[in-house]
Amino acid sequence: MNLSTRYLGLELSHPFMPGASPLVDNLDEVKRLEDAGASAIVMHSLFEEQIEREAMFEERHMDVHEHSFAEATTYRPNPSDFVLEPDQYLEYLRRIKETVSIPVIGSLNGTHTGGWIRYADLIQQAGADALEINVYFLPAAAVEDANHDVESRTLDIVKAVRDEVSIPTAVKLSPFFSSLPRFARELDGLGIDGLVLFNRFYQPDIDIERLEIVPRLELSTSAELLLRIRWLAALYGQINASLAVTGGVHTREDAIKAIMAGAGAVQVVSALLRNGSGYLRMLIDGTREWLEENEYDSLQQMQGSMSLKNCPNPEAFERVNYLKTLQVWRA
């Protein structure tokens, strides 16, 4: 069975890959993922804040103590050995490239245009085959500057990164845009090569005893897939960029649904964290078996088959169905 797919202009043997996560934090694990059949490796994100803060931390908290006191003009070993996290990221990317033969996709996460964007080029120089830009931010203030609304800021960032690199570029989005199809078309217009749907929203929790906000990240469930299927189905065939799904793929059935809705790539994180890297192999094999059992010619044949464009009952994606669903639930 031919499972091959095209994602970000890359010819992949099948759509399954680990999504951006700590999964790839050590080389042994990366190797295990390749052995489990991953068609590509997506690096964890390098954050704009990391790039800036890491540099400023030393400046703010270490340098202020130096050259103050006769007995000790410094307090740490010579910093030439100290590699900033962003540079370490690049070095690690280089080593992953040396370790595996599958494509490696770098990942950058930021909310402003600025100096950090040059890391896109550095990621390219370090050997990344493609780059995923994760533009995730929280417009917390009630009124955003009209000229700097979420969409135009995102477009600015994407454009800046596109200008910086020649490798294929994907944009990873959150689901919270007022008109996703229009926005996706605008991104498409910038020449991006793929859209990744969706960023799993970082949702901090509240400690009610200590009155503090505490960071929290839960693993996804299959239930989260439905939102993604809806938008994959809506966007498939509407834009040139290829589509990837991330968030909520836990079983081969989940994956098949996403591909039917239009995904050219399936990124898996929670399922691998829960079941180990070897689970990727089960998803690939399971999908192959399913395709064979159901007498598909290839995976290509299935991709987008249930998109808004191709499905037999597109109205089910629309408001009418919403109404119906609510009524059924009430009954």
Binding site: E52, M56, H61
Partner: protein, 1186 residues
């Protein structure tokens, strides 16, 4: 552009194979550089990598070196002062065995009446009898060149060398030097000397025996057998110097004469003073005088022949200057050597009637040696009967030794540009100046020199930078006092220090002025305006903080002020200067990422535009009253002496002003109001739950709580806050939490630890930071009022955290870093036991913030009682504490005997009560004090007699004293461990508090045996790969020692309990206290959170081992921290010391983290097992309560 330390180390490193080190100021940078080079894989001259080994003490380093040399390696070390003293026994051995070896010493004072980290020759002079050759360098260039000559000569002569230069003055001066290339070293060092050294090595392949014991028939002759080597050495060294001259053009001589052939008056001296003397002599000769200088390079062996050859025939008077003091001798060592050489020469012109000779002391403890002082000495030589045994540089109004000198005298060359900068350590001034001098030295034809004067306080430290540059080499190793450019980077310094005193007439004055820089004139005090007008200064101002703020750079104004300096000083064309600054920004900050570089670029561009020229009117205006250094109510001693030191005028004080024996009053820190905090905590009484945790963690005792009768607050200042005291034990009382606005350092530890939050707006806590300036005056009055409120009855307070924090701290406003992790423990110690506390303090951070003048933090309570504090050495602090204990016990014993003897007359019941009263807690102590008071009253009624007088004198010893040895992990784990172990085994009632920062904090964060696995520190920059020594575990195996491990930020109640238990235990006690530190690379206001993470992750255990429990059939070890509840990495990733490795070598980090995890688990499991072990078979001291 390098400093003296780097100059010497660069040669020593390239010519060595084994480098045994131990940190000691001011030599530490040489060891650090060697370690850094080795870590980076830099090879030595022969292509192999020097092995750099940190030892537990300089004594240990010397032993290791002796062994390495016997093993045939080329070895070196770097040390100073007490460290050099610890090496002396091995120096005799190394010399006695004729071993080629060269060590490099930054000559430093010895601890006598006081410790001094600064420079003189006391340490080196204590080695002149060891058999080492002593070779002195006078400048940074010489420190490099003579290092090479010393290493070469030792290989050729077999006599070991001690190469030295002046601590700080040369070791820390940055100068433009001609560097020695590897090729020169290769030409200099003869490999046959190396081979010969190797052939003599101990080896089972050609065995010999060394270190025999010799009998009377042998020892003497065998000792004399070395004579030929010493006889030949001066000529050999001169030959090496000549060869060096052939290669480099720089000719050195054993005794270098500088001056005309017809000089009549000559000064003989060595090291940096010789440079000053030569400069001054040339200046005087240009005025028609006939003077000269002999600069001594090779001091041992002392070659009389070479000295005689150096002196001109015309000489009629000689003054020999020694930078050391030898009380009770006929003269200082160099003087005696010169006298002996000249008088014994038999040369007619050196006979007493033809040649006047005097000797004197100068420059002890880095007292600046200036041209004015040199001139005073030359002038003295004009007299018919010049004074011998003089001092110069001070006013000795007690024994009259001092030569008067004219402070205004100067030999400043007009072509030399001089600039002085006043800054804060934290604003980056020194770093910027180091950078500027590099730009000038490397990008112009100018020679340049930089020297930096630092503060003795760590928080809010002031720095003074002295920069010189000019077309000729700079040979002025003394501070600048008439600069053509003076910059004051902190506006309030103008009133605190005599900044303008450094300015020459017509100089440029640059001020950093917060706010409107245009209107600076109105904000200057009349005195300052007067000086500006009188000296005709050109005034410029900038608001550098505004620019820094706009670029999100906090208080780092370094680059901004640097741009202003270049803009005003006209050394480089403005555009080139800017380009160079940007280049160096790129170099310095490039590593830290683009963001930092861009921010610095932005301030460079903003700085030029924001610099204003301020018009200076013809006459000063205004009638403001000048500020005084200390308040009117300060004690006489503080007004007379301390205030002068605080004003930076200590050099002017005469000998008679000072205590003769190093004994100073305590409680002086309170008179120095430093006003460091930009923001201070403000109390919201409505939200406060009165837990007093903020009071407990405050490192500077600058936030305090009291409860009191409401009536007492009737006349309180208007803004004084109070609320009802929430306490069942003390109903109807008021409670106040008060900040000391002028003593707070603004560290925010208190705010971070505050658990009380506004329910509706949780970001608002019971204390919140607010700008200090608008609050200062009102809060100063509130604090004054607060201090006058009565302190509670100590005996009536519960011994929990909340109530103990009502106890008066007798350690306040120290010079420790803002947010220090050590001082909260020290403060707690004084709260609990302060009025009967004796502290033996190991050298280190705690001795510096505890005892460095001008002001000290230990203080007294209302009865005049408080901690008595002394620092002996670094290495002997446990023993020193034990000695105090023995003495106190002896005094108590004598008092008790007298008491018994007088019992029939005093009344048996009182005597019996006093002798048998338990004194294990505050209430019992208070009862005993009452008895002793009664005893004193009774004694007054007795007829005068010896026994009664003895008892009256010693009666206070009947109240139990609490004796503590306090120090850091460098002391307890490393250099003082042997003594500490012995004291633990002594069974005596000594308490030991280890302020464990897991590095040598005071010298800049070097690795100790307490450094945890995977942490990077200096001397283990690649991450420590062995676990932290478990000192607590070692101690508790005795079974007779009280041992506790505490971390205030994790469990303050456990800390308090441990202190109380340790103190009450009638044998040795050891408390290991986790202390966060700036060397950890943390955000300091999170210090207490770091402590909690350390405990929660299992990295730091909390426990108490109490031998008393054994006798009570209880398990002695109580584990007070639960099993780890967060992953170890949650703790490690918070601190740069761990992150460094994660980022520089992630694989090694993972491996070490894995080992660290295993080590934490194993340690935990061992302690869990021990917690179930009864220790019955141990040497259980079933001690009863005291």
């Amino acid at each position: 552009m390098i400093d003296g330390n780097e100059a010497a180390a660069s040669v020593a490193y390239r010519l060595s194979e084994v480098i045994a080190i131990y940190p000691i100021t001011p030599s530490t940078p040489m060891a650090e550089l060697s370690d850094e080079w080795s870590a980076r894989g830099k090879p030595n001259l022969w292509g192999n990598l020097p092995e750099v080994v940190e030892m537990q003490s300089e004594g240990g380093a010397a032993g290791a070196l002796h062994g390495a040399l016997q093993g045939g390696a080329l070895a070196t070390t770097f040390t100073a002062s007490q460290g050099l003293l610890l090496m002396i026994p091995n120096m005799y051995k190394i010399a006695g065995e004729l071993t080629p070896f060269c060590m490099h010493v930054t000559a430093r004072s010895l601890a006598t009446h006081a410790l001094s980290i600064f420079g003189d020759h006391s340490d080196v002079m204590a080695c002149r009898q060891t058999g080492f050759a002593l070779l002195a360098s006078a400048s940074v260039q010489e420190a490099q060149d003579l290092a090479c000559i010393a290493h070469t000569a030792t290989l050729e002569s077999r006599v070991p060398f001690l190469h030295f230069f002046d601590g700080f003055r040369t070791s820390h001066e940055i100068a433009k030097v001609e560097l020695l290339a590897d090729e020169v070293l290769r030409e200099m060092v003869d490999d046959s000397g190396v081979e010969a050294h190797r052939r003599r090595a101990l080896s089972p392949d050609h065995p010999v025996i060394r270190g025999t014991a010799q009998n009377p028939d042998t020892y003497f002759q065998a000792r004399e057998a070395v004579n030929g080597y010493y006889r030949d050495l001066p000529d050999r060294v001169q030959a090496v110097m000549d060869r060096f001259a052939g290669l480099t053009g720089r000719q050195y001589r054993l005794f270098e004469y500088h001056g005309p052939a017809d000089a009549e008056r000559v000064i003989v001296c060595m090291a940096s003073a010789a440079e000053t003397a030569v400069e001054t002599s040339s200046w005087l000769n240009a005025q028609g005088e006939k003077t000269g200088v002999v600069k001594v390079h090779l001091y041992r062996p002392f070659s009389a022949r070479h000295l005689l050859e150096a002196l001109p025939d015309s000489v009629r008077a000689v003054a020999v200057l020694d930078r050391t003091k030898e009380p009770g001798s006929g003269g200082e060592p160099l003087y005696l050597d010169v006298v002996a050489a000249l008088r014994e020469s038999g040369v007619e012109r050196f006979r007493a009637e033809r040649l006047k000779m005097i000797g004197g002391r100068y420059g002890l403890g880095s007292k600046d040696f200036t041209p004015a002082m040199t001139k005073a000495v030359f002038d003295e030589l004009k007299k018919d009967e010049p004074q011998n045994g003089f001092t110069v540089g001070i006013t000795d109004d007690v024994t009259g030794t001092s030569l008067p000198f004219d402070r205004g005298f100067s030999v400043d060359r007009p072509e030399v540009r001089r600039a002085v900068f006043f800054g804060l350590g934290s604003d980056g001034t020194v770093g910027a100046n180091k950078n500027s001098i590099k730009i000038i030295g490397e990008h112009t034809d100018n020679h340049a020199q930089a020297y930096f004067v630092y503060d003795s306080k760590k928080a809010g430290a002031i720095t003074i930078s002295h920069l010189r540059f000019g077309p000729e080499p700079i040979r002025e190793p003394y501070q600048i006092d008439n600069a053509q450019f003076v910059a004051c980077h902190q506006f309030d310094f103008l009133d605190k220090y005599d900044v303008l005193g450094y300015a020459a007439t017509g100089a440029t004055l640059l001020l950093n002025v917060p706010g409107d820089a245009d209107r600076v004139w109105e904000r200057l005090s009349p005195a300052i305006r007067g000086q500006i007008v009188e000296k005709g200064l050109k005034l410029y101002a900038i608001d550098a903080y505004r620019i820094a703020r706009e670029q999100n750079m906090g208080a780092r104004i370094n680059t901004i002020m640097q741009v202003c300096f270049f803009a005003l000083s006209d050394i480089l064309p403005p555009d080139e200067a800017i380009a160079r600054i940007k280049e160096s920004i790129e170099k310095t900050y490039g590593r830290k990422g683009r963001a930092v570089v861009e921010r610095n670029f932005a301030v460079v561009d903003a700085a030029r535009a924001a610099l204003h020229a301020v018009p200076v009117p013809d006459s000063p205006l205004g009638d403001e009253i000048e500020r005084v250094a200390v308040p009117e109510e300060a004690p006489e001693f503080v007004k007379r002496l301390t205030s002068v030191l605080l004003a930076g005028k200590g050099d002017l004080l005469p000998v008679s002003a000072f205590p003769v024996d190093g004994t100073w009053p305590t409680g002086t820190a309170k008179w120095e109001k430093r006003n460091l905090a930009p923001a201070i905590p403000v109390w919201d009484a409505d939200i406060c739950i009165q837990c007093n945790k903020c009071v407990m963690v405050c490192p500077h005792a600058a936030i305090r709580a009291k409860f009191y009768e409401p009536a007492l607050a009737e006349n309180a200042p208007e803004t004084f806050k109070a609320t009802e005291f929430r306490s069942r034990d003390f109903p109807g009382m008021n409670y106040t939490l008060q900040v000391a606005p002028e003593d707070c350092t603004g560290c925010e530890l208190c705010v971070h630890v505050c658990p009380a939050k506004d329910k509706a707006e949780p970001k608002h806590k019971a204390i919140n930071m607010a700008p200090q300036a608008p609050l200062r005056d009102a809060e100063r009055e509130n604090y004054r009022f607060f201090l006058e409120l009565p302190s509670p009855d100590r005996a009536a307070l519960k011994q929990d955290v909340k109530h103990i924090q009502f106890l008066e701290p007798l350690f306040e406003y120290s010079g420790a870093c803002a947010g220090c992790g050590e001082t909260p423990y020290v403060k707690l110690l004084t709260q609990l036991f302060g009025d009967r506390l004796m502290i033996a303090n190991a050298t280190g951070c705690s001795s510096i913030y505890g005892g460095n003048l001008p002001t000290t933090p230990y203080t007294v309570n209302g009865n005049g009682r408080g901690p008595a504090w002394a620092n002996s050495l670094f290495e002997d602090n446990a023993e020193f504490g034990l000695g105090l204990r023995l003495a106190v016990d002896k005094m108590a014993d004598i008092a008790q005997r007298s008491l018994r003897a007088l019992a029939p007359r005093l009344g048996d019941s009182l005597v019996e009560e006093i002798l048998s009263a338990p004194q294990s807690d505050e209430a019992l102590i208070a009862a005993q004090r009452k008895r002793v008071d009664a005893l004193r009253q009774k004694l007054k009624t007795l007829p005068d007699g010896k026994e009664a007088r003895t008892l009256a004198f010693l009666a206070d010893y009947l109240v139990r004293k609490s004796v503590w040895s306090v120090g850091g992990d460098g002391w307890a784990y490393d250099i003082g461990y042997g003594g500490l172990d012995h004291v633990l085994a002594s069974g005596r009632d000594l308490n030991i508090l280890v302020l464990d920062t897991e590095v040598y904090s005071n010298t800049g964060g070097q690795c100790s045996k307490s450094t945890p696995l995977s942490a990077s520190a200096k001397f283990s920059s690649k991450g420590k790969d062995l676990p932290k020594k478990d000192l607590g575990l070692i101690a508790l195996t005795y079974g007779s020692v009280y041992v506790a491990s505490v971390a205030m930020g994790a469990k303050d109640a456990q800390t308090t309990r441990a202190f109380l238990e340790a103190e009450s235990f009638p044998g040795p006690s050891l408390i290991l206290a986790y202390s966060h530190c700036i060397a950890h690379g943390i955000t300091m206001h999170r210090g207490m959170d770091e402590q909690k993470l350390a405990v929660d992750s299992g990295s730091w255990k909390l426990y108490r081992f109490d031998p008393r429990r054994i006798a009570q059939d209880q398990l002695p070890l109580q584990l007070d921290s639960p099993a780890p509840r967060i992953p170890l990495s949650d703790y490690l990733t918070q601190q740069l010391r761990f992150r460094t490795l994660e980022q520089s070598d992630p694989e090694r980090f993972r491996e070490l983290r894995r080992k660290a995890g295993e080590s934490v688990k194993a340690g935990r499991s061992l302690f869990e097992t021990l917690a179930g072990f009864p220790f019955k078979s141990g040497n259980g001291n079933g001690g009863t309560e005291k």
